[in-house]
């Protein structure tokens, strides 16, 4: 494919976005490669996003962004602490020269390696710090506006009162109002994958009227209260983008009569009309081939069988990110859900280094579980996980213990 063809496709994509919910069939089949087939309205943000969108947490290059755009992806989720992600996106935007044809969202966050409880701006940093975070992102991204800026990872701290202060920090809200007036940020968004009070905090965000978009962790392992949150969002015309949709991604060998686990998991999320799209990390070109066939497709009986089989294998082994029901039961105050999430990154996502780094920064680690005879966390889990044993396993993995 020549470069002019790439730009022709980009223009075709833009035309499709302006006219309806699906790209022209001729392009959807271009080169026989998997393409985005469905675009959905993202609440009151005015965006119409690809149902399968790009999580740029491990972005390898600007070229990868252009490949994704060529396949019809138009929504890119990045952050200052995602390595060179914003820089690569900026290079891609420079070459694309069609800023208004893609949506770029980032986070109120410091650049540099992620540090739990520090990277995401906290109450008290002041309005100027929030504004500077966005302005620094704009420089790296080679653009003059963000389509949305996120208050990120709500519920990463166990003190819900403190998290509520972060959610509705007056400095942050004032900074966003100014950024919006200056045309530098168009929508305010909030994300959460727990481990503390995900549903409560997101509901509070929706009801506050300040937020245009939410991004919860949501997958077929049925977070019990997320449907309630996304229905509340829909009622207020707040957009919903899902993340953590692969429920641990441990079923790569679970294909069933040609059905793909990842695609089944995506279709399950996208069957909820309140969800405009999902973001999934794409590190390799092959991820585009593996993920995009799910776009615009309904969940089939075979897909559901595959997910049921997965749930049967892992239902009592999978910690629901954002649940946090076990947290209060630990007499040592160990951050159970965070540790099990880090273990998921380590074991299922192949992100060993990141997982171990984040685990190293926890004040209370799971080595305290070694001598715990009562294990009240086991009784506290509504999904009957053997929490104590999983914590000991996690400590062995994450600390090389």
């Amino acid at each position: 494919m020549q470069r002019r063809e790439f730009f022709k496709h980009s223009v075709a994509s833009a035309a499709a976005l302006g006219t309806g919910l699906s790209v022209p069939q001729a392009w959807a089949q271009a080169d026989g490669k998997a393409q985005v087939r469905s675009y959905r309205r993202l609440g009151r943000t005015g965006m119409k996003i690809s149902d399968i969108s790009f999580g740029a947490g491990k972005l390898p290059s600007a070229g990868m962004v252009l490949r994704a755009i060529d396949r019809g992806i138009n929504y890119f989720d990045t952050a200052p602490d995602y390595g060179r992600s914003e820089e690569y996106l900026g290079q891609a935007l420079k070459r694309l020269k069609q800023r208004d044809k893609v949506y770029i969202v980032s986070k109120f966050c410091d650049a540099g390696p992620y540090v739990t409880g520090k990277s995401h701006l906290q109450p008290g940093v002041g309005k100027a710090a929030y504004k500077k975070a966005v302005e620094d992102s704009l420089k790296r991204l080679n653009t003059d506006y963000l389509d949305a800026v996120f208050v990120h990872a709500m519920g990463e701290g166990s003190d819900l009162a403190s998290e509520r202060r972060r959610l509705l920090d007056e400095d942050m809200l004032a900074a966003f109002a100014e950024l919006k007036a200056e045309g530098k940020a168009r929508a305010l968004a909030v994300s959460s994958h727990g481990p503390h009070g995900m549903e409560e905090l997101l509901l509070e965000a929706v009801n506050s009227g300040h937020y245009d978009l939410i991004m919860p962790a949501f997958n077929f392992m049925k977070f019990p209260r997320v449907p309630e949150v996304i229905k509340a969002a829909q009622a207020k015309d707040v957009g919903v983008v899902a993340m953590k949709t692969l429920a641990g991604a441990r079923a790569m060998d679970l294909d069933l009569a040609g059905a793909s686990f990842e695609q089944a998991a995506f279709k399950w999320v996208l069957q909820h009309p309140q969800v405009a799209g999902l973001v999934v990390t794409m590190r390799k070109v092959s991820d585009l081939d593996n993920y995009l066939p799910a776009s615009g497709q309904a969940l089939s009986a075979l897909d559901q069988q595959l997910l049921d089989r997965y749930a049967g294998l892992h239902g009592r082994d999978y910690c629901r990110t954002g649940c946090g029901d076990c947290e209060a039961s630990c007499p040592l105050g160990i951050s159970i859900a965070s540790i099990l999430r880090f273990q998921m990154y380590f074991e299922d996502y192949g992100q060993e280094k990141d997982a171990m780094s984040q685990y190293a920064q926890l004040d209370r680690k799971a080595d305290g579980c070694q001598g715990c005879a009562d294990a009240p966390c086991n009784q506290a889990c509504p999904h009957e996980l053997a929490v104590s044993a999983k914590l000991r396993d996690a400590h062995r993995s994450l600390s090389f213990g």
Binding site: M1, Q2, R3, E5, F6, D31, P60, S61, G63, M64, L66, R67, D70, R95, A111, G112, P113, M282, R283, K284, V285, S286, E352, K353, M356, S357, Y359, A360, Q361, K365, D367, Q370, G371, S397, L398, S399, F400, G401
Partner: protein
């Protein structure tokens, strides 16, 4: 069974009684130890076995006039987690062979004022990878210290041969650069010949920055352990990458790249410049670029194959 290997019945009775008594004595000793074992205790000192496995690098007795604070502590793959609980796996999967921790403080001090972690990463390239991975955005490069050094706040990271060294100060008055220079000098003198970092890029322009990408370079799952360098050339900035490997592996990787581009429908044209064979790629995603499959090196440059660049590659 032959009679020759039967136990002798001629041994004196007292020795057989003694042997029988040993069993309950051993059981008692094991039981007593078990009762006094505390699983909550963490052994912070490297084991004697680990110390025997890790060869100590030559270390200065003093740095910035500060004598050593205790003996150097060696760690290896078996017990690295005792020192860096939560980040060991990264090093172990990146070529790590050993760590020596050495501390310095004024005589009589209760705490160290200067701590050096010397990671032996097996190869200079892996040491470089660790340095690049752990660089904070505000780190400033320092010239003339080791093979490469960066300072940031109260920390200074450098590489020297296969060593990746983290130097931390707990006294803001201490001059980290001076300490790092003294440490590097001591290592050079003590080790004699040091395998220097060989980034060995051809002289394509003025180097601006160098990165190490462990896997899936630019989204291509078969391009791993890649060095990427940004250059300033006469026409502007551009990026080059290279993979150094065995002749057999380079051929395999080169073929995988050609196959990938072909399957992706990207036009590749084989060409030649004064005996140098190269592939020119007309890529809608990466722009025009070219690559050379050498004997033990795969080199790519994300710019047009200008004669001056091809000449530089050929000369290299």
């Amino acid at each position: 069974m032959s009679k020759a290997i039967l136990p002798s019945l001629d041994a004196p009775v007292w020795s057989r009684w003694l042997l029988s008594l040993l069993l309950p004595l051993m059981a008692g000793a094991i039981w007593w130890q078990g009762q006094h074992f505390d699983p909550g205790l963490v052994q912070l000192q490297a084991s004697a076995q680990a110390q025997a496995k890790t060869k100590l690098p030559p270390l200065p007795d003093a740095l910035l006039g500060l004598p050593r604070f205790g003996p150097p502590r060696p760690y290896n793959a078996d017990n690295l987690y005792e020192y860096i609980n939560g980040h060991a796996e990264y090093y172990l999967s990146s070529g790590f062979t050993g760590l020596t921790v050495v501390e310095y403080a004024t005589a009589g001090a209760q705490q160290p004022q200067l701590v050096a972690n010397l990671y032996h990463m097996g190869e200079p390239l892996f040491a470089f990878g660790a340095l690049m991975d752990e660089l904070s955005p505000e780190a400033q490069p320092l010239e003339g210290i080791g093979s490469m050094a960066f300072a940031s706040g109260d920390g200074l990271n450098l590489i020297l041969g296969p060593y990746y060294i983290q130097l931390s100060r707990f006294d803001a008055q201490l001059d980290l650069a001076q300490a790092a220079e003294a440490l590097a000098t001591s290592l050079r003198q003590g080790l004699g010949q040091i395998e220097e970092l060989d980034l060995s890029f051809p002289r394509l322009g003025r180097p601006l920055a160098t990165y190490f990408v462990k896997e899936a370079y630019r989204g291509m799952g078969f391009l791993n352990q890649v060095l990427e360098r940004q250059f300033q050339g006469p026409e502007g900035e551009f990026t080059a990458f290279q993979i150094l490997d065995s002749a057999e592996q380079i051929q395999i990787t080169g073929q995988a790249l050609l196959d990938f581009l072909s399957q992706d429908g990207i036009a590749v044209e084989q060409a030649e410049h004064q005996g140098l064979s190269y592939y020119r790629v007309d890529d809608p995603y990466e722009g025009e670029w070219f690559f050379v499959i050498g004997k033990t090196r795969l080199l790519g440059t994300f710019t047009a194959p200008e004669p001056s660049l091809l000449q530089a590659i050929r000369a290299d």
